[in-house]
């Protein structure tokens, strides 16, 4: 029996509902019948309605998940785990109250909320970002802005989808040049604004995106001498994949794609401009079709090529669910692509509602990417630094945003094991160490995480409760009993040497700060937490 078919929702949240916001035209959720259909609500209502639910979710172990190969899905906490999985994959993880609130919507309600992001206000994140007064013409500030955005946004799927597109339709600031680094931000905003648009529109936009025009040399391509770089990569990496086109198609498409150039180089605001007089206009034969094609025709032909939905669905499925999907896995996405006129939001929704997405195979089935790890930990621990160090952390973990290793993006997006090696593993742990203990790094001052106030706020009264509390949202509450015991033992262990601080639980018992903080470190350094 698949996980999604299990009875869920032992507890029904109070009908927390909805200030009536318009329901989007979304595809109706398939499967589970007992999910209320209208779930949109304001963030405030969302959180207000479900306080205290977390106490139910925490404290229940999830051994069954792993020990029974994922065939058993527990009741209410299993919903939390399933939604926790959803929020890690379709976002950057969650704080405890967020997880609780999303879980209260039921799985499909949570999917709706993620997909219909326009209905969720994100003013808080926007205001916090504005308050930093970052200079978005500078790359480190762009990277910092984006990582903090991932950590703070209430529209996590939108941000995750933007990250997905950045790994597929990628460009690097190294080629746009220092003075025109702002173009990377322009591209980033394009990918965000059109994250769920039709693939045709996305391809049209990226073809005429200034950073892309530089990155794959289309701006250098002229009627007289078409440059084949963009034409090739567009087919190989954006739409069809190797084997579905010939070198002749590359030549021909290169001619058809001529006409776009970046104008106003080194000015403050370089833009893409189409010059029909520099468009080849010659008749070409492209993938079996004949005509005096231009870039719009190339995009149309590619977006309608039968290989394209398979290609992009494979990328999407691999990034969000698991690697090496079968054709059966991909078929529903391909069908949606065709039926919806290539609408990527619809394809995404199909994916999130597929049983495979929530399957045992998917669960902890990918290694967290550096962005997921950095933004996820920052978000979960509710870190309040200025985030100046985050871009550097991403570099040492192996994902320099806005500077992918090459035009194929990050190999880890496809094979997530490639994110982990001895060096990046240590970088991850050192980042956790920095977040928890504080310190000075890269011009930022990190205050230690205030564990005492977390203990007080959450009325944590025993070491077991402490571990349960953090495991409930850092690890979906899915921590095997013997592993929990290891953590509790560590928590209780005596510290030798001088006393460097205590944490007092609400039962009055005090424990060594080193051990208490070390317990959270161990959870976030654990194998489980490296996985997504």
């Amino acid at each position: 029996m698949e996980i999604h078919e299990q009875p869920t929702e032992q507890w029904e949240p109070e009908k927390v509902i909805p200030a009536a916001l318009p329901q989007q035209n979304a595809v109706q959720p398939a499967g589970e019948a007992n999910i209320p259909q209208h779930k949109s609500l304001s963030r405030r209502a969302l959180f207000a309605g479900v306080l205290g639910v977390g106490a139910v979710a925490s404290g229940v172990a999830f051994e069954q998940w792993t020990s029974h190969g994922g065939s058993t899905y527990l009741g209410a906490p299993a919903t939390t785990a399933k939604v926790g999985h959803l929020l890690r994959r379709a976002g950057f993880g969650a704080q405890k109250d967020e997880l609780t609130a999303y879980a209260a919507l039921g799985y499909e309600g949570a999917v709706d909320r993620l997909i219909n992001y326009q209905q969720v206000a994100d003013d808080d994140a926007e205001n916090r970002l504005k308050a930093l007064k970052l200079d978005l013409t500078r790359v480190p500030d762009q990277q910092r802005w984006w990582l903090l955005r991932m950590a703070w946004t209430q529209r996590p799927l939108l941000e995750k989808m933007t990250l997905f597109w950045h790994g597929v339709l990628t460009s690097s600031y190294r080629k746009t040049g220092g003075k025109e680094a702002i173009l990377m931000n322009v591209q980033n905003e394009f990918l965000r604004n059109h994250a769920f648009d039709t693939y045709d529109n996305i391809l049209l936009g990226i073809t005429s995106d200034p950073a892309m025009l530089y990155y794959l040399d289309l701006t250098k391509s002229t009627k007289k001498s078409p440059n084949e770089n963009y034409a090739r990569e567009m087919m190989e990496l954006f739409t069809l994949g190797v084997g579905h086109y010939t070198q002749q198609d590359v030549y021909e498409a290169a001619a058809a794609l001529t006409g776009w150039h970046v104008r106003g180089r080194a000015a403050l605001n370089p833009v893409a401009a189409y010059n029909p007089r520099d468009h080849s206009g010659r008749e070409i034969t492209f993938l079996g079709q004949k005509g005096a094609f231009d870039y719009k025709d190339i995009v149309r032909i590619l977006a309608n090529n039968p290989a394209t939905p398979w290609f992009i669905s494979r990328r999407l499925f691999t990034f969000f669910a698991y690697e090496n999907p079968s054709n059966d896995d991909l078929k529903p996405l391909v069908d949606t692509y065709v039926k919806s006129n290539h609408n990527m939001g619809e394809v995404m929704k199909t994916l999130l509602l597929l049983p495979q997405f929530s399957s045992a195979k998917a669960y902890r089935g990918r290694v967290k990417s550096p962005s997921e790890f950095i933004a996820g930990a920052y978000r979960a621990l509710n870190i309040t630094s200025d985030g100046k160090e985050l871009p550097g952390q991403a570099v040492v973990m192996g994902q320099t945003l806005l500077d992918p290793p090459n035009v194929a993006g990050w190999p880890g997006d496809k094979i997530s094991a490639l994110w982990i090696n001895s060096g990046t593993w240590m970088a991850r742990l050192n980042y956790i160490n920095l977040l928890l203990n504080g310190g000075r790094s890269g011009g930022s001052v990190y205050k230690p995480v205030d564990l005492q106030s977390m203990v007080n706020t959450n009325h944590i009264d025993t070491p077991e409760h402490f571990v349960d509390h953090f495991a409930s949202y850092l690890l979906d509450g899915n921590l095997e009993a013997d592993r929990k015991a290891q953590l509790v033992d560590y928590f209780k262990a005596q510290d030798s040497g001088p006393d460097k601080g205590k944490i007092t639980l609400t039962n009055g018992q005090s424990y060594s700060l080193a051990k208490v903080r070390g317990t959270v470190y161990l959870m976030m350094a654990s194998p489980e937490y490296q996985l997504n």
């Binding site: 250098k220 194929a408 070390g518």
Partner: protein, 418 residues
């Protein structure tokens, strides 16, 4: 009695104090050492102290502007603007010469320590960077391979000392050439950052926390996805960082390395070699060779980075008396189109030259130079030397490994190594 870890492993015993987590790499080392004693025949990968340094020039290096056929009129004709002027070329013979920024490599040549293998490639190039990189690294001509050729080597090499630094990759991502199912390769950008920091409030410098962490890794269900990767990575990281920290303290570079990550990476490799960490394969990637437009300045900078870095590396090793044991090999996924394009650049090509450097190298130009006026239908060079024959030479004649085992077939070897 206190045994060094090396001694313990040599003697096939391992003393583990109660409660200590037994690192898997130790147990494997013990098993391997035993297997070696019992079955002396199983040493197709005979250990030696030879080291191979592989330099990947990622993006498709323009071979024709690296080793320039300056005397060929077709070169002038096809490269009217971006061709290297004849009087700029550093001549190796009457036919070819080096890019001017490769001047430091000319001294390798003059000392008899450099070979050039021309025309290296493979059949049916798709002109895709990624398929080409896959093929060079995994040897699967369909581009569907996963294990790297060096990964096979590293996983199969029996190092009786149990060094985790059998191979080392400079960067934030392990090269596909080094990927193996059983043996993750230490991957790092600098020795300073290759360590775990403790929590300052810990009184024991982080030992207890580390012990607890290793137990969490060691007891993570082995059947879970990525369990083996995480377990071996965590162990390798710990042991490797300890060794590298020791090496870092003892090592003094004997050369001035240029700025930048490429040379810094070579310096880390030199440190590992000089300090005797058992490095057999070192790997550094230099990227940025995909020069479709305005290639001259970009390519010139890359040539300088390459040559200056290698020169410092070699000087360092020589002054530490370690240069005899090290051979450097460069490769790129393809060369570039013979004819320049309209953007002062070059498009994806096929065959290209490789450099082999080191005291053990027989100076010379090997392979067959591809003919510039007999191109394939895409305007690209026809390759003359299968890249696997270069690998075979390196494996059989330098690494003491069986090229047949690694490459899955027999390939002619070249004479650039004795």
């Amino acid at each position: 009695m206190k045994l060094s870890r090396r001694a313990m492993i040599r003697d096939g015993m391992l003393v583990v104090s109660a409660g200590m987590v037994m690192p898997a790499i130790f147990s494997r080392g013990v098993a391997s050492a035993k297997a070696l004693t019992l079955d002396g025949a199983r040493s197709s990968f005979a250990a030696s102290d030879h080291t191979l340094i592989v330099i990947q020039m990622a993006g498709g290096n323009d071979g024709l502007n690296t080793v320039v056929p300056y005397a060929d009129p077709t070169y002038r004709k096809m490269r009217p603007t971006i061709g290297i002027a004849e009087n700029q070329v550093i001549r190796l013979d009457n036919r070819v010469g080096l890019h001017p920024n490769l001047a430091p490599l000319k001294s390798f040549w003059d000392q008899g320590h450099m070979a050039v293998v021309e025309g290296v490639g493979y059949p049916n190039q798709s002109l895709s960077h990624f398929q080409a990189m896959d093929i060079w690294q995994t040897l699967d001509l369909n581009g569907n391979g996963s294990e790297g050729w060096l990964g096979k080597l590293v996983a199969g090499l029996v190092d009786k000392d149990g060094h985790p630094f059998q191979a080392m990759d400079i960067g934030v991502q392990t090269a596909q050439a080094l990927s193996s199912i059983s043996t993750p390769v230490p991957t790092l950008t600098s020795s300073q950052t290759y360590r775990l920091y403790p929590d300052p409030v810990e009184n024991d410098g982080g030992n207890a926390r580390m012990q607890a962490l290793m137990k969490l890794y060691n007891t993570y269900p082995k059947s879970s996805p990525y369990a083996a990767l995480l377990d071996t990575t965590s162990l390798g990281a710990q042991e490797g960082s300890r060794q590298l920290r020791q090496a870092e303290t003892a090592y003094q570079s004997a050369a001035t390395y240029p700025q930048g990550p490429f040379a810094a990476g070579l310096k880390v490799l030199a440190e590992a070699i000089v300090q005797g960490l058992g490095l057999r394969v070192g790997y550094v990637t230099l990227g940025g060779f995909d020069t479709h437009a305005n290639q001259q300045a970009t390519h010139a900078t890359l040539m300088k980075t390459l040559a200056d870095g290698l020169s410092a590396f070699y000087t360092d090793l020589t002054k530490h008396n370690k240069a005899d044991n090290v051979v450097v090999m460069t490769w790129s996924e393809f060369g570039r189109r013979v004819e320049e394009n309209g953007s002062l650049g070059t498009d994806h090509g096929t065959a290209a030259p490789m450099f082999v450097l080191g005291n053990a190298v027989n100076k010379g130009i090997y392979g067959e130079p591809p003919v510039l006026n007999s191109l394939d239908k895409n305007g690209n060079l026809k390759y003359t030397v299968d890249f696997r024959s270069v690998y075979a030479t390196m494996l059989d004649r330098w690494m003491g490994a069986s090229s047949k085992d690694v490459l899955g077939g027999s390939f002619d070897t070249q004479k650039f190594l004795a």
